[in-house]
Amino acid sequence: MSSESATPDSGTGEEAMVREIGHDEFDPIGTLTLIGLYFALLVVLWLFMYFVEFLGNGPTVVG
């Protein structure tokens, strides 16, 4: 749909690569932090659900 006058790479960013980094240099610390938060949330909610809401909600079927 682009007009014939536009250059093929305009706006795509393919020409904008500043530097290439190796496998170990890739450092997605934000993603790690986010996943860490999700994990912490899961652990806290699980412990709350099981120990407080379930086990704390006696009487419970024991036989």
């Binding site: 890739f26 790690l32 996943i35 699980w46 379930f54 086990l55 009487p59 419970t60 079927v61 024991v62």
Partner: protein, 167 residues
């Protein structure tokens, strides 16, 4: 295969989570003694209920079977529980035997984990410990017909000092 160090971290974290989940369930089963309601109550033909000693002699009831151990026989039918009220002393262990002559019912001690499905042809058996005195409501939690919403009962857990042993 080269796995990024962060990815190793959250792979390990996911495995630890799974172990934690299984661990807590195991703790509940082994240490706390949480059990599932099983089919161990056996079967009963719905039209045989009136002829069954447990549910007819003299009527559905609570029976003492040991020190602080009781058995409660309950018929759940459209739209009431027989008996409507059960009385047990505080600190007692009660084994419920519940059955239905008509349709599917529920037997839920409101606000607790004691919750059973009552199936025609089946005797639902579950053991519950009542540690605290008080009045517990019982409701049917399976839609059983037009009067479902009125189907309720109660379990009166009487303090040891006030228990005279009767029902």
């Amino acid at each position: 295969m080269d796995i990024h160090r962060y990815e190793r971290l959250w792979l390990a974290g996911a495995l630890v989570l799974i172990v934690l989940f299984i661990g807590t369930i195991t703790y509940g089963a082994v240490v706390v003694g949480v059990e599932m309601v099983s089919a161990s109550g056996g079967t009963i033909a719905p039209d045989e209920i009136p002829n069954d000693d447990r549910f007819s002699d003299p009527r559905p009831r609570v029976e003492q079977v040991g020190e602080n151990e009781y058995e409660a026989y309950v018929i759940a039918r459209q739209f009431l529980f027989q008996p409507r009220q059960l009385r047990v002393p505080e600190g007692s262990t009660v084994t419920f035997y519940v059955t239905s002559p008509d349709v599917l019912h529920g037997f839920e001690v409101v606000g607790t984990n004691a919750n059973m499905m009552v199936i025609p042809g089946q005797v639902t058996k579950a053991t519950v410990e009542f540690e605290e005195a008080g009045s517990y409501g019982v409701v049917c939690n399976e839609y059983c017909g037009a009067g479902h919403h009125t189907m309720e009962g109660s379990i009166e857990v009487v303090p040891q000092s006030e228990w005279e042993g009767g029902n």
